[in-house]
Every structure is written in structure tokens, then in C-alpha cells.
Symmetry: C2
Subunit: 464 residues, 2 copies
Amino acid sequence: MQKVTDFIEKNHERYIFELRELCAIPSVSTKSEHKPDIERCARWLADHMKKIGLENIEIVPTEGHPIVYADWLHAPGKPTLLIYGHYDVQPAEPLDLWLSPPWDLTLRDGDLYARGVVDDKGQVLIHLKALEAFFKNEGKLPVNVKLVIEGEEEVGSDNLYVFIEKEKKRLEADALVVSDTCMLGKGIPSICYGLRGLSYYEMEVIGPTVDLHSGSFGGAVPNPLNIAFEMMAKLKDADGRVTIPVFYDDVLPLTEKERKLLAELPFNEKTFQETTGAKQLPGEKGYTVAERIWARPTLDINGMYGGYEGEGAKTVIPSKATVKFSTRLVPNQDPDKIAKLVGEHMKRIAPPSVTINFTILSTGKWWLAPFDHPFIQAGKRALEEGFGKKAVFIREGGSIPLVSMIYENLRKPCVLLGFGLPDENAHAPNERLHLENYLKGILSIAYFYHEVGQLPPEAAHAAA
Amino acid sequence: MQKVTDFIEKNHERYIFELRELCAIPSVSTKSEHKPDIERCARWLADHMKKIGLENIEIVPTEGHPIVYADWLHAPGKPTLLIYGHYDVQPAEPLDLWLSPPWDLTLRDGDLYARGVVDDKGQVLIHLKALEAFFKNEGKLPVNVKLVIEGEEEVGSDNLYVFIEKEKKRLEADALVVSDTCMLGKGIPSICYGLRGLSYYEMEVIGPTVDLHSGSFGGAVPNPLNIAFEMMAKLKDADGRVTIPVFYDDVLPLTEKERKLLAELPFNEKTFQETTGAKQLPGEKGYTVAERIWARPTLDINGMYGGYEGEGAKTVIPSKATVKFSTRLVPNQDPDKIAKLVGEHMKRIAPPSVTINFTILSTGKWWLAPFDHPFIQAGKRALEEGFGKKAVFIREGGSIPLVSMIYENLRKPCVLLGFGLPDENAHAPNERLHLENYLKGILSIAYFYHEVGQLPPEAAHAAA
């Protein structure tokens, strides 16, 4: 390992300039005018993979943007890691809010600024640079690897699922490794062991069949806006708890041990509050902020429209109001079961004067790793070696459908080693990646391959 | 009068064809491309006024569309009526929903179809045709008249107020007469003696200072949508009563006598419900539909936006939610006082985690006529003579700011003699005017001028 880590230490400048090259390609997946950039980016990655020593490189066409595949499978008896990342990025707009050009990687006060630098190009390159360090210094890898770098993460990954379904055999592995999450904070290497699930709904409330004049009719007709407000307001009580019956029945309570671990984390509620800009942090009574966002289910309204939205006043009682809302779910809530009972509840609490159209827009399962699994413990040791600091176990309030899918279908462990920070503007102007995390990320991932290569065979093939 | 009424009976066909000419001019006030049509329409009216015998005709330019003024003041000792109407119309779009061309007056099943036919061109012509019948048969009018026909009613009448302010002297009169409202139903001649007031608000609820990911933050931040819903839902109780303290304090209770009169009206709740298309008609407990829309205050949400409004799902907690809502007000509620206390109430019930921006968009006073006033009683007699049926006193749930203004500033009676029907699509495709109401309207207005001319001097100049 010494040669590998020395090599990494000596190549910092080159790593930055290679990331600059990758970030210069505006591989925006949502916009068709960037299709040539997407293809150029896939080509750049494939060429780079070839150059560092990976094999069986293929730019796999899909109905959308291509997937870049590569592998190296010459470590007999050693575990096989499936490494996932994405090369597509969010649009850079609004451009005038960027302090430096979004496609020109800039170093400012210890941070690297560019669209896609943390989400997820920098984290993809972390893996490639760690692999390169082994190839260049040892001529081989301590593990077998299969890389799947997709171009549609920012638009829903539909074609990735088709690819995984079709190529199950080719993608067989002992564990999935993803670097696309955040650390708890600066200087706190973190390994994520849990994600919340999600069920997302749209509800239409229809009162009159036509828009009515609020003067002539106000006070005597069912106003769908008033009624939608009344219905939605009933969904939470004064303690911030969801009032839908059965909603909490399957929730796995936090154990005293886990609460203690969460309480010991250097989770800074003040920093969290500053990130949001909110005056206070209300939430479910009896739980800390970390517990609320990671381990407790919640219900949020995500969008609403109805009636007049223009400037000034229009005295209308609209025919229809539309609410988009979602529930974040935790172990052991079943997203489909919850979605069904939310729909039934909304119809039950709707007054007889209105018609309700309820649609389930999507559901996604939560994920919780057995954090004593050998791969996850290997990840923890690797982070501590790479950063020279104690690593912490954290959870994430969002969802990564791929992780839940791999876990559900293959019962293989997923190791989430993320090097972003919560305030790095992943989808906003001035996206950045802390330079230290980029460089220590490469070192940590090299240690991770090394640690996994050292696992005894029975640990390496254990189910999750 | 016999010669006048005989003349009217003999000229039905001509009245229809003159209305056809007027409706053929697409005098849409909201669209600048119709500016030449607006001017052509004002010119048509001025020419027509001249032809029938009115004097001092003037097309008064304003900062917007012109006002057409005319008078005839040769009935010494007789009352002077200020007759108001408007020649501008709503846009005809969506054109594909019209069963006959909107600018080509068509007679179908006893109804005249065209944009503007009821709102308000037909009702303006009702007055001109009644005046013409006197000029042609008696060479004079039984009253003095001043006509103000504006071209900006559908866009807020701003320049009308400027004109009234500037021309106070010229517009002096004993009563205002407006034909721009509806009858209670087919075959029920109606005189409107009350209008509700209005205060209209916009409230912004700001939680986080930036849009947040609902996965990473949901459950621990103040979601302005959830909070706006909770706040608005608190504004009405289960009995449909507004919960804002002091809100009802100044409400003049309905007297037993008025409730009895309202109950005796041929107000058809079933027809009203069919017009709205709603499954039920909820409202304030303890009041009939007519009482709710005419004589009780209410609170309606008129528009709402915030978060994601596009197709499908976006897992966002928005920084801001915006609600537009309004209160309809009745005697003796003061719109400014109510607006102030609504604003204070919203700030009081807002949780400390959010910032509230509350704006009063407009206020307008209610109006209630002393319906035993001689002018209003003259109106009732005229309708009964014109239609040959008992006339009823009704109120209207909406507001006509001009009426409130004249009443407040000049303390002159306003007589609202409307010949529309509630389902005649005033602002929608297939606008229509029941032919019988057009013709009996002309007769009724002729009787009205005659009745007012007969009033004893002390009655004619009584304050409202």
C-alpha cells in the first residue's frame, strides 16, 4: 500500500486538472441540445478507463443516454465490487448567479467550483484515480471490479434499470459501492447506512364544475381551495405527528443504542439551521433533528396550485385545486401499503360536496444496512485511514432507488462512501467540492479496495 | 304613455337589428389590438345618441379608452337621472366553444347570442331605445338624463373614477341608474337593493430561505406549504363560520322581516346548484343559500401557488408559499377595518418558524339601498308594468364599486334594474340575452322614466 499512497500524494495537481477536463464537458442530461456533450463525456470516461488499465470497456447505448461499463476481474478468490456513479449533471442555469463560469473548474478558498464537481463527476474520478494508483504501482488490483457509470441519474435512471435487468449475470458482484452522498460535515468522514423511502401523491379536489365568481357564489358553494386546505391541515397534529391511522404501525422504533449513537454524532443543529435559512426548526415532538430527518417518517406538501396565480386580484372560486405531497418512509413501512392507506384516508376525510382524484406518482423503498457487515466495517476503516480521523455512521433522509433495488433484489451489501458536504449546492449555482475531501477521498477509496481485498473469503461473500 | 308603449311594441325587429350592429363591433377592452374597435364602438354610440335626440354628445378621451357622454336637460323641475353603462366587452376566446360566431348576433330558442349582448351592450341599448320612444312620440322626455357609457368596465374602470372626480358638477343628478345586473330567474323582474363589499389579500409564507430537498430536510424544517395550509384551515370552523375574532361584530343581523321576504322569493336552490355543478352546497350553518350569498360575510381562497407545479413529482420543500384570499363583506362591516384585523390575525396565528408578508390588494364597500326610497319603489312599479308580473327585491353577492362610491360620496339613491339572467355566460362562451327580457326591458325602462317623472318634487330630491 505504501507505494500506492505515496503515488496518490504526489499526483494531487494532476488529479485536479483531470477533474477540470471532465467538468468542462456540459453533460446536462435534461436538455436535448446537450446530447453531443453527453456522448463526448461518455467517450472521455471510456478513454480514461482504458488509459488507466481497466478492461472490457463499452459505451452501452440505451433508449436515452449511454452507460459506460468497464471491469477488471483478475483477482481470483477476491470479492467483486460493483462501482456505481453517474456522469450526467444538472443544468447550470441561472448562470448569472455563478461567481465563476460553471464549465471552468476554479479553485477558491480550498473549494473546487464547477457544475457536476461533487454530483457526481468528482466522486466518479475518486474511484478511477484510486484504481489507477494500484495499476500504476502494483500492476493489478486487490479486488475484482465492475464499473457502471450512467448518464441519466438526474432524469430518473429509467434505462439503468433496463440495463441491470438485462445484464444481471454480467453485473453479479459481492457488494455495491456508491460515492454520491454527503459527509456529516467538514472533517467528519462518514459512511451512510440508511436511506428513507418515499411515496409521492397528487390529489385533485373538484368542487364546482366551472370557475365561479366569488361574489355571486362565495359562501354557498364548495370552494376546492378552502377544502383542500382543510383536508391537508388535518394530516398533522400539533406535535408534528402524521394523523393518518395505521401510518406509524410498522415504524421500527429507534433503539436506545441507536439514539445514543445518533446523539453522540457531531451533528450541528445550528449549522443545519443556517443551511436552511429558517428561523426555527419545527418537527415531530420528542425527536432530535437528526432523528427526524433520518429515522422518522414525515409528510410534506411539495406543490400546490389552483385559482388565480397572476398579479393582483381575481375574484374567482376555481373548479379545481391540485396538491402534490409525499411521505418519507422508514423501516419497516411498506411504501405501497402506505400509499394505499393515504389515498383511502384522503377520500374518507373529503367532504361529500367535492370529488377527489388521488394518484400515486411514485413509491420507493427505504434501505437500512446491517452496519456490522464486513464490507461496511471495511469502509469505516478505510475512511479513518484516508482522513486520519474517526469515521461516523450516518443516515440520509433522501432516497437512492438503485440502492434499495440492489438490496431488495440481490440481498447484497451496499457501501455508501460519499465525499460531498451538505452545503455544496449540488443542484444550485456555485456547486463545489472541498478540495481536501477530493484528495482524501481518493486515498480513502484506495484503502477501501485494499481493506476489501484483505477480507476472509467467508466475510467477503456474506449476504446483507 | 300609450303612444310610447305602442311604438315599442311595433319596433321589436328593428331593436334586434340595431343590437346586432352594436354587437358586431369587437370592443374588447383588455386587448390593445382592439383599440380601433373600441373607438369605432364609442363612435357608433355617439352617432346613435345623436340620431335619437340626445344632446351635448361627447366622446371624452381618457388615458385609456374613451367615455361616451350625452344628456338632455329640458324637463325643468323634474328629477335628473345619471344613467351608467359600458360598451366594452370581455374577450370572446375560446372561440371553438361558441355555437355561433361571437360577433354575429344570432337568435336561437328565444335567446340572442353574441359577446357583450347581456354584458352590457343589450342593457345600454335598452335605455337608448326607451329614450328614443319618448323623443319620437312626445318630442321630449319625462325626466332629465345624463348618460355615461364607459369603455373600461372589464378592466377596472380606473379612468371612469378620474372622470367622475373631475366632472362632479357636470354629473350632478338625483339618482344613479344602472342596468348591468341579473334578474332572480326567467319571468321574475327583479330590483337589486344590496351588494356585498370585498377585501382582497395576498399572503406569503416564507420558511427556509432557499428551496430544499424534501429527503434531506423533510421533517425538520418549516415547510411553508404545510404551514400555509394549517393557517388557512384555521380560518373557518366546522359550521362554516369565519373564526377571526371581531369579524362578525359589526354585521347587521338579518331582521325577521327580511328573512321572511328572502324566504318568500322564488329562489330556486336546485337551479343554483345546477349552475355551479357542485355535488352539495355547503355554507354557514343556519342560513339559506340566498342569505349566505347576499347577506352574510364569507371568506374564500381565490388562488394559491408554491412548490412544484409541473408534471409528475419533484421532491422539494419550497422556500415560499403564496395564498390569495378575500372576504366578502356586508353591512355594517368596514372593509378597511376588516382588512387590518385579518392581517393582524394571520400574523398572530403564524408559527414563529416562518415569516409572513401580508398585503391588502383591494377593498370595496358593501351597498344597501333603503328599498322604500321613492326612486326604488318607482323602479319596482316600472318593472311590474313592463313585465306584467310581480317584481321582487333581491341582493347581489358581488360588488359594483361605482355604486358604492356614488352612494358613499353623494348619498344619492342607486337604482339597479338588471335584465340579465344568472346563467347567461356573461364572461364565458355563448353569452346570451333572453329576447323577451330585452324587449320587456325597453318597455320597463320607458315606464321607469315615466314613473320618475311623476314623482312629487320632495320625493324626487330625497337623499338615499
